[in-house]
């Protein structure tokens, strides 16, 4: 099978082959603030003074780009040594407690060609408190080829770009930012994506989980008492809320969330309003308001709610929950006078509600969205609308089994077909599932927060009782438990973080505190969720909950009410036997999702979270030029970008991106049989499988990672071979402990990943 090889791949292979020994050679070591080192690199600093403080960076000197006059932006120019025949990398040594994290441009000093943005993550807090962070960046080979040295310049960069390492040359340059940058403590060049700091470089103290967050003053005696305080505050707010209105702006989310919370208050014995008729009346009035407005608009559900993926569903849910009460009171048989553009007509409330839900279903069915949370919300809405139609006895209602289908599509049990591109690949026998077999969302690759489906799937499982929802939710929880790492917050209290560095959405680094355990454990009853819940409690995170929930954009009063019983259900359970792979003292492990190009492994105290398939300027349309991994060690962390080695069959299809330093042409994978091209790109749809190579591999430091992404049972299914690494006669398989000779080619069957450490 002919394989496509890019110039980078060829170069990297040659480099890998040649340098099995001494790969970690450092070509440049510039220590900022060190006169000798700076002089050797001919450092030129503009508005970047040396700063030293005993409590910062272990007292080491560094230079920070400061806001400067517009005519002379802050910059650091310096010489670096290069290998003219290899992929070269630039690594920055940064202090993880720094408070300033802004984009920083890397340019050639002579002609100001932008080589990329050295900090494109969204950083809202100190990423690695009390320790150094190493940021590694591949220098474009177009610029370094044939050169043994180059003068580079680092300057304050334009405002953060949402995505992408490089700015596409076709895009206009954003306005320059004049915020201070983080401080630079070292700048290195080298030829292995793995930068090994010299033993002489000082490191911060090794990470250890901090103590749990203490109870603040005024906190009740028990957590349960605090949760009850919060729930009662939300109950009071819900009952005081004016739900009898309907509007298009984003406020509709509050309206409908409160509306669907009212039945919960009505049926919760401790709510203080258990089976209170006024709550039922309030619910009825709220539903009426939406039904009347939709009729007044000519029955056009699409004009009802701004981005209303869930609003009709919440109204339907309120109706389904209260239906028996409404029926017993005779309210459904009462006439409702609908003022429509064509006149006023009176119909029974039952008929008006049914028409409202039926019209909403038909409208919402036309656009079920593409990625992750949106299809789930929309599918949930479709399911709820049908349930409401069933309880109303409407003959148009689908059966429960039929309505569940929409949810099954959103979990990934059934293929998605609701977009033209998705229909094409499904017809071609290569259906598009919204989730991967390994339990991640597919999207354009790995996704943090939004990509974690459990927060929406768990309530759906509980609401529907659908065993498939339970099964998938447990599967997602187990997959996501891999992406929880021990960390400390800014006050030094222990916690778990999510992994965000390689997410294509938001690209947050570090990712925020993240457990997702209590609700999950209460509903799913699985050991993974229970461990997360017990850690959340043990870390004192519930002590940080204020007496009254914040009414932010995601406020939903049902959450605080449900949390009371969820907490009661799990608080006295025996400790879960499960341990997160990243917890201290856990054994080595490997994990991968070939459908997303994602890999995770642990080797002793080294944890690596990476992706061969990171969002770059190719945007998933073709095989990208950038992978990324986040390495976590007790004494430091690293963020490393690298051009992965890859292979795929020739398709004749490619995508060209214009970079400031030249054009790059990258291949697309062959479309499924019967198709000549892939679906293009948003807003219509994007199938990132066009840009997912069949085979990826990379060697970084002592590690070799190889991944055959082809799925068994598809037209892609094929075996690919890891090229020989001369001299690598002994490599230990991290999963099995087996010693493998990598000096000979190693075939990998479809949908297989291997992780080795060279010995």
């Amino acid at each position: 099978m002919p394989a496509y090889r890019s110039l980078f791949v060829t170069a990297l292979c040659a480099f890998m082959s040649a340098a099995i020994a001494g790969r970690a050679e450092t070509l440049t070591s510039l220590r900022l603030g060190d006169a000798v080192s700076e002089q050797a690199a001919r450092l030129s600093a503009v508005s970047a003074p040396i700063e030293t403080a005993p409590e910062i960076a272990l007292g080491e000197p560094g230079r920070r780009l400061l806001p400067a006059a517009a005519s002379l932006p802050a910059s650091l120019a310096f010489d670096v040594r290069l290998d003219p025949n290899a992929q070269n990398y630039l690594t920055l040594r940064l202090w993880g407690s720094d408070a300033n994290w802004t984009p920083v441009d890397l340019l050639t000093d002579s002609d100001s060609v932008s080589l990329g943005n050295l900090w494109w993550h969204v950083t809202r807090e100190a990423p690695v408190p009390g320790r150094f962070l190493y940021r590694t960046f591949p220098l474009p080979i177009e610029v370094t080829r044939g050169k043994t040295s180059l003068r580079l310049r680092i300057a304050t960069a334009p405002a953060p770009q949402a995505i992408g390492v490089f700015r596409n040359a076709d895009q206009p340059a954003p306005q320059r930012s004049y915020r201070p940058s983080f401080a630079f403590y070292g700048i290195h060049t080298h030829t292995d994506s793995w930068f090994q700091p010299s033993a002489s470089e000082r490191q911060g103290p090794s990470f250890a989980w901090g103590p749990p967050a203490p109870k603040p003053a005024g906190y009740p005696d028990t957590v349960e008492a605090r949760l009850l305080q919060r729930a009662r505050a939300d109950i009071a707010r819900s009952l005081a809320y004016g739900v009898a209105r309907s509007r298009y702006d984003t406020g509709h989310r509050y309206d409908t969330r409160v509306l669907e919370t009212l039945p919960l208050i009505y049926f919760t014995e401790w709510s203080g309003h258990y089976r209170e008729k006024s709550v039922a009346e309030k619910t009825l009035a709220g539903i009426d308001a939406h039904v009347l407005r939709q009729a007044a608009q000519g029955g056009a559900p699409g004009a009802m709610f701004y981005r209303g993926w869930g609003s009709h569903g919440r109204i339907a849910h309120a109706c389904s929950q209260m239906h028996e009460v409404f029926a017993a009171e005779g309210w459904l048989d009462q006439p409702l006078s609908l003022v429509t553009p064509s006149g006023t007509r009176a119909v029974s409330r039952r008929q008006a509600y049914a028409d409202f839900f039926h019209d909403a279903f038909n409208w919402r069915l036309q656009d079920r969205r593409s990625w992750t949370n949106q299809p789930v919300y929309v599918s949930h809405t479709l399911y709820r609308l049908q349930k409401a139609l069933r309880v109303l006895g409407d003959p148009r209602a689908l059966t429960e089994a039929q309505a569940l289908h929409y949810l099954h599509v959103s979990y990934g049990l059934e293929p998605m077909r609701s977009r033209p591109g998705a229909m094409d690949v499904d017809d071609a026998g290569y259906p598009y599932f919204l989730t991967t077999r390994a339990g991640l969302t597919r999207e354009k690759g790995y996704v943090d927060a939004y990509g974690e489906l459990s927060d929406v799937l768990v309530p759906i499982a509980e609401e529907t009782g659908d065993p498939v929802a339970y099964e998938f939710a447990r599967k997602f929880m187990r997959a996501r438990s891999v992406f929880r790492i021990p960390s400390n917050d800014t006050t030094g209290n222990g916690m778990l973080r999510g992994i965000g560095a390689m997410s294509w959405r938001g690209t947050t680094f570090p990712f925020r505190v993240f457990y997702s355990g209590i609700e999950e454990a209460a509903v799913l009853g699985d050991p993974v969720s229970l461990r997360l819940a017990q850690l959340e409690i043990a870390h004192g995170r519930l002590h940080l909950l204020p007496a009254e929930p914040e009414r932010g954009p995601h406020w939903h009063p049902a959450s605080s009410i449900r949390l009371v019983d969820q907490y009661r259900k799990i608080k006295d359970l025996p400790p879960s036997p499960y341990r997160l792979p990243a917890e201290p003292g856990q054994p080595d492990f490997v994990w991968s999702d070939p459908e997303n190009g994602v890999f995770v492994f642990r080797d002793g105290e080294t944890l690596v979270y990476g992706s061969f398939f990171n969002l770059d300027a190719f945007n998933g349309r073709s095989v990208g030029d950038r992978g990324i991994y986040h390495l976590v060690r007790p004494e430091s962390e690293r963020l490393v970008e690298f051009p992965p080695d890859f292979a795929l069959p020739e398709s004749g299809l490619s995508v060209t991106v214009r970079y400031p330093f030249g054009d790059r042409i990258r291949p697309q994978t062959p479309p499924p049989p019967g198709m000549t091209t892939w679906a293009s790109e948003p807003p219509d749809w994007l199938d990132h499988r066009a840009g997912r190579a069949y085979f990826y591999h990379t060697r970084t430091g002592p590690y070799v990672i190889a991944m055959n992404t082809t799925e068994t049972g598809t037209y892609r299914e094929s075996t690919w071979t890891l090229p020989a690494i001369p001299g690598a006669t002994k490599a230990r398989d991290l999963a099995t402990g087996e010693i493998v000779d990598l000096s000979r080619p190693l075939p990998l069957p479809a949908y297989t990943s291997r992780f080795f450490i060279l010995e």
Partner: protein
């Protein structure tokens, strides 16, 4: 020529017991086809059957065709006098597919009050002729037989009754045209999924031309004679029944799979949903088949000159669904494992809610053909 070669090849290999057939009649006994949630159906059309039914008026949900659906829980129902310009009582009219001698009718009246009724023959007011007048027995005794004078020869029969003084609801639960086999002559009653097509046509009333009246046309869900396979909807699943089979194909060529269908809906199955898609089965449990909606649907055309200028009601006609299998999918194979899958619509995002048209034959060829 190419098709002939393929057929000859298939025939020869089939005779030798080596390969799949090029034509399958799935409704026939021992047809080489496996199916789930599907049924074998057949029908023989009677000489006479009900073509349409219409009425002076109806209450919502009490349309006139409900008087011939074989279900005494449903009915045609009115309240008060008919709308202007009608000046006498409400009426229900049934039109046959051809004129016939009608010896009697049977009526199950709504309610227990007696009805003062009249029976007319001929469909148009200017030729309409009263053939009977009487009073029903009252009570609730089910079908009441009304014997007509000898020799009433007509295509349409109308029964009209005087409006109740208190404008109480009146109507007919069921009506039978004497001599017509039931339920064969009442397709709606014969099959709960047989559609009723509402059409609008002009109608003369009291010698005044009314603009339009809605006519309800029960359909003939099956062809006259033969047997077929019908993929059924499922309440317990999103998609419907399916049928698996092997069919001879020409290697290395685009092949066409053609289904011969009996279509009784007013629009093609590709436009209304409840259609059949073709899937290839590669024999691998993890590999979904490739899916093909019909690339072409052809229909037998009918001409009708006497439907008052309105669209002619088509109780049923032959239709052919053609599916193209690209050469790249056929490869070098001489037969393919195929599946017919009942689905809700072309997007496959709505459940199958009604049976697909019955399949009378499945054939392969190098062009989309009809027999």
């Amino acid at each position: 020529m190419q098709f002939s070669r393929l057929f000859a090849f298939a025939l020869a290999t089939h005779c030798l017991g080596m390969a799949a057939p090029a034509v399958i009649r799935p409704g026939e006994p021992d047809a080489p086809i496996r199916f789930e949630h599907a049924e074998i159906v057949s029908a023989r059309h009677p000489a006479l059957w009900v073509m349409s039914v219409y009425a002076s008026a109806w209450l919502p949900g009490r349309e006139p065709h409900l008087a011939i659906d074989g279900n005494d829980a449903t009915d045609w129902r009115v309240s008060g006098p008919p709308p202007a310009p009608m000046v006498r009582g409400n009426w229900l009219e049934i039109e046959l597919n051809q004129p016939a001698i009608i010896p009697d009718i049977e009526v199950d009246w709504l309610g227990s009050a007696p009805y003062d009724y009249k029976v007319y023959k001929n469909p148009r007011d200017d030729f309409r002729e009263q053939v009977m007048e009487g009073r029903s027995a009252g009570g609730d005794y089910g079908l009441e037989k009304i014997t007509l004078p000898p020799g009433v020869f007509t295509r349409a029969i109308r029964i009209e009754f005087a409006t109740a003084a208190d404008h109480a609801e009146q109507g007919i639960r069921e009506i039978r045209i004497g001599g017509l086999a039931y339920p064969a002559a009442y397709p709606r009653a014969a099959d709960k999924f047989a559609p009723v097509e509402p059409l609008r046509r002009v109608l003369y009333v009291e010698f005044e031309r009314m603009p339009w009246v809605t006519v309800f046309n029960p359909k003939l869900p099956y062809a006259d004679g033969g047997s077929a396979l019908r993929l059924m909807p499922r309440d317990d699943a999103f998609e419907g029944g399916r049928a698996d089979f092997s069919l001879a194909v020409a290697p290395g060529r685009d092949n066409w799979i053609t289904l011969k269908l009996w279509e009784s809906h007013d629009v093609s199955m590709t436009r209304r949903g409840d259609l059949i898609v073709l899937e290839t089965l590669d024999g691998n449990v993890t590999q979904r088949g490739r899916n093909y909606p019909p690339a072409l649907v052809t229909e037998q055309q009918h001409a009708e000159q006497e439907w008052y200028g309105a669209p002619k009601p088509q109780p049923g006609r032959w239709a052919y669904a053609h599916y193209k299998l690209p050469a790249a999918v056929v490869g070098d194979r001489t037969e393919l494992q195929l599946r017919l899958q009942g689905v809700g619509n072309v997007r496959r995002d709505y459940p199958m809610r009604a049976p697909a048209p019955p399949i009378y034959s499945i054939s392969s060829g190098l062009t989309p053909v009809i027999d």
